[in-house]
């Protein structure tokens, strides 16, 4: 401080007069001092941190300054500083990063030590000092920039990432959990850095610490690094590094929180985390930097020109600053987008367990509302569908259930249904190409037991029941019927016409009713009512909007569409069951009055009590598979007696037995056990033949029962599989011998069954059905047109599919009119092609020559 006055004045008054006043003595002195100065400068600068020559250096500087060689001293010092720094310091500085010692700031110690020495040695005025510093800083910054290694930004990035992760774990745990431990965790480099920082701070600003005691020490350290980097001129690089680190961390956090668990909502916790960690970090950082900047601002000349002034210097901590808000928005958008992308990528799985995964759907909905990237969802989901669902390996049932879940889930996200339409179209197109689609749809709609167990909350509920329940629960809200209509409409939309749906249902209903052994049809009545209401509502979508204002929708629509033809047939079928029950009890009552009306009274040992009958109005039922069957005599007598009594009650109506239909409950009693079965009449007829004769050849048995041998062989498998009968080769290789099994053998075969009375229900495991399927019916109906088609092709040579279709439409208007669809015709024609009656080339049909 003592030399301050004279040196500064002599620096200003630098004129030739001074040269004149120089004595030899002083020249020698200057020369000596200068040499000494140069030597000590070199020693100081090269001997890292060796301050032993300090006093000597200071003496030389003093003497030179005394002689007014002030600027010379300064220039020389800076120049040699720059050279040496460029040679050693910078490379040394960067070399530390080469070794990936994460911010081993040892080399950073270099510049400040020079600084220290310089200020020590010079003690210049404030202005001069700041001027010197700015030159020094510019020098350092430009040298460093020029020699910036490529991986430096990466290192910065990793540094921030590491620090933020640390911060995140601290924030994640209790805030004041263990700061000491945290400190311990800091690596050696970090500590060294801190020590260096504090050293530097003594020069810049001393009383800075302790102001943000409430803030985490870690944040402060990061803040220091940021500020130092800024002062080195790496502002934008630093910002890039920490923002990318934060985004990376946020992304990892989102992935971590969201994961593969769709049963809970994660959006709130992600938002919470954003508040807790990154925003906390920014708040502290901005506050810290803002403070330091404002502290620095009087001497902002110190700043490197490369270090742009921070845009966010806000002293307040509690009031969210503009910069903070901006950061929050950026982070939240990023989080939404990340979560959205994550969910969209997994949307297929989410929808698979839809009712359980609704929180995830809800999250996705919010994300999409924020980002508006619905089209992304549509594209990705469609490709997932194509890849994973619409393949030959997926069962129609699965596809349908996924379709329904998709409708339900996307309804939540997009109530207007625009995207649902786009997503649903490929599924519908695909399903239309499958043969069993209608059947599966009807099963899903009406039969809860056969369906996928995870489709609804209550297992065993049909989709119609479920929709109905939803409707009832939404009774008071304005959007009544809406959901039901949507889902039903989209499902039935696959089929294209409700007649097809109802026809398929009729076949299924017939099958079910014919296999009933009691007259309990309550569930069928309910299903039909639901179906009727549902189909009607779907059918008159347009009407609903009009009537909704004034009427109770259900009743109005039902009245309008009550007389629907195929529905009416279903009703008649159900009514037949009700009538049968009444007639059955009436007939039983006549037995009580006139017990012995039969032709051979007392001939049959079995009483009428064991016989119940379902009497159907065959015109309204789907075509029934007719098979002749000779039942055993006692049963046959019972049947004719029953028919006679019916005829008496219902003159002039009479009964025609369909002996192959129905169910028979019987008990097989062996010496040591009894087994109960519920079987089809044909099985009963077979086993009853073995009562008197324990061994039959297949030909004889077939003749006795009145079945073709191949049918018998197929049907008898049931008893063989139960271990009741055994099959062996007879004398004739075509003739099999069936023998009643010894009880014991059977017991060994089915271990657990012995002794107990068990009831085994026979499903149609052999594909035997009482009712012709819709497909069979169509094929049957189509054969009428075979002659027409053959005639046409003989005349015209070759015809395309649509031409055949149109011609049939034009000419087959008489009974029965041609009313088949193009697809039905096509499948019929391809049947003819496979029978080698026709040939298909280039879309044209030919007669097979």
């Amino acid at each position: 401080m003592a030399t301050e006055g004279p040196s500064s004045s002599s620096a200003v008054v630098c004129n030739l007069a001074i040269l004149d006043s120089l004595t030899d003595d002083s020249i020698r002195q200057i020369h000596d001092s200068y040499t000494g100065f140069c030597a000590t400068t070199a020693t100081l600068l090269t001997g890292a941190g060796d301050l032993s020559v300090g006093p000597e250096f200071i003496a030389h500087v003093h003497s030179l300054c005394h002689h007014g060689l002030h600027s010379l001293v300064r220039d020389h010092f800076l120049k040699s500083l720059e050279e040496i720094f460029e040679q050693n310091g910078a490379s040394k500085f960067w070399r530390h990063f080469d070794a990936y010692t994460n911010f081993a700031l040892l080399s950073k110690n270099q510049p400040p030590s020079y600084k220290d020495q310089m200020s020590e040695g010079r003690h210049p005025s404030d202005a001069e000092r700041s001027h010197l510093f700015s030159r020094y800083q510019l020098l350092v910054s430009s040298v460093l920039m020029a020699s910036l290694p490529r991986h430096f930004p990466e290192i910065l990035h990793w540094y921030f990432k590491g620090r933020l992760e640390e911060l995140s774990t601290i924030m994640g745990g209790e805030f004041n959990d263990d700061e000491s431990q945290d400190k311990d965790e800091m690596d050696l480099d970090e500590k060294r850095k801190i020590s260096y920082r504090t050293g530097e701070m003594d020069i810049d600003e001393c009383s800075h610490q302790g102001r943000f005691l409430e803030n985490n020490k870690l944040v402060k350290n990061i803040g220091k690094v940021v500020r130092d980097l800024r002062s080195l001129g790496f502002t934008s690089m630093t910002e890039d590094a920490y923002s990318s680190a934060i985004f990376l961390l946020l992304k990892a956090k989102v992935h971590d929180l969201a994961g593969d668990d769709y049963r809970s909502s994660v959006l709130e916790s992600i938002k919470g985390w954003i508040q807790a960690v990154p925003l906390q970090f920014f708040r502290a950082l901005l506050a810290y930097l803002g403070d330091s900047v404002s502290y620095d601002s009087p001497s902002s000349g110190l700043k490197s020109p490369l270090a742009s002034h921070p845009s966010s210097c806000y002293p307040g901590i509690d009031t969210p600053s503009q910069g903070l808000v901006r950061w929050q928005l950026r982070l939240e958008y990023f989080a939404y987008e990340t979560l959205q992308d994550l969910r969209i990528a997994k949307l297929f799985e989410i929808i698979v367990d839809y009712p359980d995964s609704s929180p995830a759907i809800e999250d996705l909905k919010q994300c999409l509302e924020y980002t508006g990237q619905h089209s992304k969802l549509v594209e990705s989901f469609i490709s997932a569908l194509q890849y994973r669902l619409l393949t030959a390996g997926a069962s129609t049932n699965d596809i349908l259930h996924q379709y329904v879940s998709t409708i339900k889930a996307l309804r939540t996200i997009d109530p207007a249904g625009v995207f649902l339409e786009a997503v649903g179209e490929p599924i519908r197109d695909y399903l239309r190409g499958r043969k069993d689609t209608i059947k599966c749809i009807v099963t899903m709609l009406t039969d809860g037991t056969g369906g996928n167990p995870n489709v609804s909350g209550n297992a065993g509920d049909s989709l119609l029941e479920e929709l109905n329940r939803d409707e009832e629960s939404q009774e008071n809200t304005g959007s009544r019927n809406r959901r039901k209509v949507d889902i039903l409409g989209m499902i039935v939309g696959i089929i294209g016409s409700k007649d097809q749906l109802v026809n398929e249902y009729r076949v299924m209903l017939a099958e079910k009713l014919l296999n009933k052994s009691d007259y309990d049809i309550d569930s069928e009545i309910r299903t039909l009512e639901l179906l009727k209401a549902g189909v009607d509502i779907w059918h008159s979508l347009c009407c609903i909007r009009i009537f909704r204002l004034h009427f109770h929708v259900g009743t109005v629509i039902l009245q309008i569409h009550f007389g629907e033809n195929s529905m009416q047939k279903c009703e008649i079928m159900l009514n037949d069951l009700i009538d049968s029950k009444r007639t059955n009890s009436n007939i039983k009552a006549t037995i009580a009055q006139t017990p012995l009306t039969g032709a051979e009274p007392g001939a049959s040992a079995v009483s009428m009590d064991i016989l119940d009958a379902t009497i159907i109005s065959s015109n309204f039922w789907p075509p029934i598979q007719d098979e002749t069957l000779n039942v055993s005599e006692p049963v046959d007598n019972l049947l004719s007696d029953y028919a006679k009594r019916f005829n008496e009650i219902k003159t002039p109506r009479k009964l025609l037995w369909k002996k192959n239909l129905g169910t028979v409950k019987l008990e097989l009693q062996f010496e040591d056990r009894a087994v109960q079965f519920t079987v089809a009449p044909v099985h009963a007829a077979i086993i009853m033949q073995f009562q008197d004769q324990t061994s039959w050849t297949s030909k004889n048995l077939a003749a006795a029962i009145g079945l073709p041998v191949d049918v018998l062989n197929r049907r008898i498998n049931f008893w063989i599989s139960k271990g009741i009968l055994a099959e062996s080769l007879g004398a004739d290789s075509n003739d099999h011998v069936f023998t009643l099994m010894e009880g014991m053998v059977e017991t060994n075969k089915n271990g657990g069954n012995s002794g107990s009375c068990e009831e085994i229900l026979v499903g149609d495991d052999e594909g035997e059905r009482s009712v012709a399927s819709v497909e069979d019916q169509i094929r049957k109906e189509m054969t009428i047109y075979e002659k027409f088609i053959m005639g046409m092709l003989t005349n015209f040579g070759s015809m395309a599919l649509d031409r055949i279709h149109n011609t049939l439409k034009m000419f087959c208007i008489a009974d029965p009119p041609y009313d088949k669809s193009l697809q039905q015709l096509q499948s019929f024609l391809s049947g003819l092609v496979s029978e080698e009656k026709l040939e298909l080339r280039d879309g044209m049909y030919f007669m097979k020559k």
């Binding site: 014919l514 079995v606 016989l611 159907i616 029934i624 109506r653 025609l656 037995w657 129905g662 028979v664």
Partner: protein, 89 residues
């Protein structure tokens, strides 16, 4: 053969034989000459077949023939043979 002799089985019907039959009108014709619907079906005015849409004794849907009879101003004739209408005793 020894095994076969020893094996014996009695079939009991503890439950029942639930048979299926279809009914039909015991008439010569199959369709009603008035509405040209099957007798086993029902006439256009009925919803349910069978008891709810009976045949008249002369093999028309009862509803059809009643409509016919009611539409005749004075003396009813048989719609088929134009013979005078007579109720069977």
């Amino acid at each position: 053969m020894v095994d076969n002799c020893r094996a014996s089985m009695i079939i009991e019907f503890p439950g029942l034989w639930h048979a299926v039959a279809s009914w039909t009108w015991n008439a010569q014709d199959e369709t009603c000459e008035i509405c040209s619907m099957a007798f086993d079906g029902c006439c256009p005015d009925s919803k349910l077949p069978g008891d709810d849409c009976p045949l008249s004794n002369h093999a028309f849907h009862l509803h059809c023939i009643l409509k016919w009879v009611n539409s005749q101003s004075s003396q009813a004739h048989c719609p088929m043979c134009r013979w005078e209408w007579q109720f069977k005793e």
